[in-house]
Symmetry: C2
Subunit: 488 residues, 2 copies
């Protein structure tokens, strides 16, 4: 049985004295070795050694668990985010450097008591939604190893799914914190841009990057957000948010936007339509009123991200490096990134105007709804499929995620079911989207939906998200999980 690392579970054990951080780290280290022995999933670029982890645990000795909201909570870090003394590679070995200080979000989490356990694999320079564009090997899915983990925050999702970390940090510019959440049966919080500062994070598209959180439950994600959020002097894009007004997530009734039938795209996934309908029904049962929404201006923004000038930000982020040693890049990453230098400033402004036009078209939509609901990803792909068709299938996975950051929205990906046999019982989910600042109402609603919709979290058999009084799900345990659940 995999470890139950949910934050309330660990916290209860720490508070009643039945567990110490050092004990947990020792168990966790054994679990990591067992996962390695069972299957090489290419989760880690640099896992911390037992001693390195124990050093963080020792630092908590003598501290009162009550005083630290994340006391003894293990977390994984995407390897484009600095952890002091450990190399940051962004999945590009030639680019590696060893930072002296941790990223500000990491500093805040450690100060809150959390324990880093390793740096995780990613699509190189966070360019991709698949998790296979890495010289450290394709990251295998936690539920079914033939499938992609999703990316770019690949190992961050898989490590939490397998019970090797309570939560993890990812980054999410185009969907990298949401697509892997769905594919690993996790909650993926893509906070309002700037809510988690990016100081010490290698930029992808700096103007629209967000640090993201993978967690077993929405409540865990909220606890992480609370400990790490807020403005930082080193990040001019960082922001603080005031109170959010009406908490639609906790309300007995709310209005949620649902794309029109013609806006839905599942890229051949036979189970997508029924899965989405089922998720919508759950929201109705929770008190939601569906409102039909024309998704086309949102989709126009998504297209803009792919075809527009923002790829030039990726170039700018690693400009000195790519100009010096272009051959050091993964060929797919290089091909995508080098497009950025050919784009002109007039074209850039033309795209910014178009974004502004689309933003104006989407604005009235928010007058009629509290949140917008879409599939998180249309479907799930196998690693072999993506390797055969790397660009197109990657784009397909971003169909519903690409517009979110450009339009300054917050999003939470929530697991809502498992697909059928033809899709190997892979998990499926929806994303709840609302204007920036609405992170907490989104998380509240995510918690209610999650508890109602699926019985287990990640690739574990644990159900820590079950709230007292939530309706038990009567569906049988998905058969596809059994094979995995006995590993480790």
């Amino acid at each position: 049985m995999r470890l139950d690392l949910s934050i309330p579970h660990l916290r209860a054990a720490y508070l009643d004295g039945t567990l110490t951080p050092a004990q947990l780290i020792t168990q966790l280290h054994a679990a990591m070795l067992a996962e390695d022995a069972a299957l090489q999933r290419n989760i880690w670029i640099r896992r911390l050694t037992l001693d390195e982890m124990l050093a963080y645990a020792s630092a908590l000795e003598g501290r009162d668990p009550h005083s630290l909201p994340l006391y003894g909570i293990p977390f994984a870090i995407k390897d484009n985010i600095d952890l002091a003394g450990i190399p940051t590679t962004a999945a590009c070995p030639d680019y590696a450097y060893t930072p002296e200080v941790s990223a500000v979000v990491v500093q805040r989490l450690i100060a809150a008591g959390a324990i880093p356990v390793g740096k995780t694999n990613l699509d190189q320079f966070a360019t991709g939604l698949v998790g296979v564009r890495s010289p450290f090997g394709a990251c295998r899915n936690s539920i079914h190893p033939d499938y992609v983990s999703g990316g770019s925050s690949a190992g961050s999702a898989v490590s939490v799914g397998l019970g090797l970390a309570s939560f993890s940090l990812g980054t999410d510019t185009a969907g990298s914190g949401r697509v892997p959440a769905m594919l690993n049966n996790l909650v993926g919080l893509k906070p309002s841009c700037g809510r988690l500062p990016t100081t010490g994070v290698i930029p992808a598209c700096r103007s629209i990057d967000a640090v993201s959180v993978f967690a077993l439950t929405a409540g865990d994600a909220a606890a992480v957000l609370a400990a790490a959020q807020g403005e930082d002097a080193g990040d001019s894009y960082s922001r603080s948010f005031g109170p959010y007004g009406h908490n639609f997530g906790a309300a007995n009734s709310f209005r949620f936007g649902v794309p029109r039938a013609q806006d839905l795209e599942f890229h051949g996934n036979p189970d997508g339509p029924a899965q989405f309908a089922s998720a919508v029904q759950h929201l109705i049962d929770l008190g939601g009123t569906p409102v039909s929404v024309d998704l086309s201006p949102f989709r126009a923004v998504a297209t803009l991200l792919y075809e527009g000038p923002w790829v030039a930000e990726r170039y700018q982020a690693i400009r000195a490096f790519i100009e010096k040693s272009p051959g050091s890049l993964h060929p797919v990453t290089r091909a995508i990134t080098e497009k950025g230098i050919a784009i002109t400033a007039p074209d850039t402004f033309a795209a910014l105007y178009k974004l502004k036009d689309m933003e104006r078209l989407t604005r009235p939509v928010w007058d009629g709804i509290d949140l917008l609901v879409t599939p998180t990803a249309s479907t799930a792909y196998k690693i072999a499929e993506v390797e055969a068709d790397p660009i197109r299938l990657n784009s397909n996975l971003g169909h519903y995620t690409n517009f979110v950051n450009l339009l300054d929205l917050a999003a939470v990906a929530v697991p809502t079911g498992f697909m059928g046999e033809s899709m190997d019982h892979m998990p499926w989910g929806i994303t709840l989207v609302a204007p920036a600042g609405q992170d907490l109402p989104l998380l509240d609603l995510a918690a209610r939906l999650h508890a109602r919709a699926v019985p287990i979290v990640g690739a574990t058999r644990h159900a820590p998200h079950r709230l007292p009084g939530a309706t038990p799900d009567t569906k049988p345990f998905p058969s596809g999980l059994v094979q995995v659940a006995v590993c480790g």
Copy 2:
């Protein structure tokens, strides 16, 4: 004596029946002919004929002056803003087209009763702060014809200064609505970007353009703003603003930022320091507390506008035209604009990051002040001087204006005095600056400062801005004006 076209003066005459719009237009037409006969100042690209103006006046017949806030008020329009049926040239004859509908701001003003009187000369495509970059001739200053009018909204300022229009529309991206205001002894309102929609206006830098207002008094500018402001569906950059909170402009005490001594630059103008000190003293006398402000991050933004990618917006705005017939452009305008195409998208984003950094550095400044005060322009130049050194002297004039739109600020240029004999008694003034949305407090303070600081408006001998109870100015009438005031 030039006409007193101040809005309250005309309105009183209309309301008590001693004047009709047709009578005013007839007098105005005569005044225009007299100005032409006195001196060719190159104010107009296309003045309306008497019949064309009278057609607008007739449309008001039978309407109740009470119901129209700008009933019978004549206004001039910069020739990069559409007036239905009259060619728009942007001071580039080969570019000209004849619009079927007026720009939205013009429509709103006409609907409020205002009467268009002509399209005014400008620095071609609104690129410049001097008013000499036009194939229609250098626009001569209304106070002293050897001096530049300032630009790019050259003729718009001069027409109001000479009493040929009650107010005029300009555009202001880098200072084009403020520098000419100072040089012609007028109030120049550069509203919050987006407050006046730009639909039907040829863009300069679309992301930071503002339609601006030249007026005899701050009260007149406020009346124009009230009639023309508000969101427009055709302009995605247009915005509506809510209430502004504390009205520092009407308060008995307020805090105003003053650049440190080392931040002040007058480009050799011997009268600048004393003029600025005198303006600051007026504000102190009005209840203001000066607060020393480090202007360097603001200046860094100003430099960014000149050296950064925003010039690419100017290229993008006329891209099809400049690519087809580059030889149709004024050589200075062409040289500046063509720089835009050589700028890359990565460099564009790098500049946007830098702007964001500077914006963050300037943010705390606003916690300590209600408004920032700077000279409007450091000095005044003669036409011959600018023709001999067209780029550098133009840049000098924008020293205090370039940062305003990039930082999303509102500004009002206010006349505060006349310089000495060595500067040919040219007018001088300061600009009041505050965050977007604070237009009305700025105008309220501008009205109080204006009434206190200078006895007359424009190149007229009229003092319509005198408020009841304001302290009369005891300074002698500036001798440099006498020569001009007898013309026309």
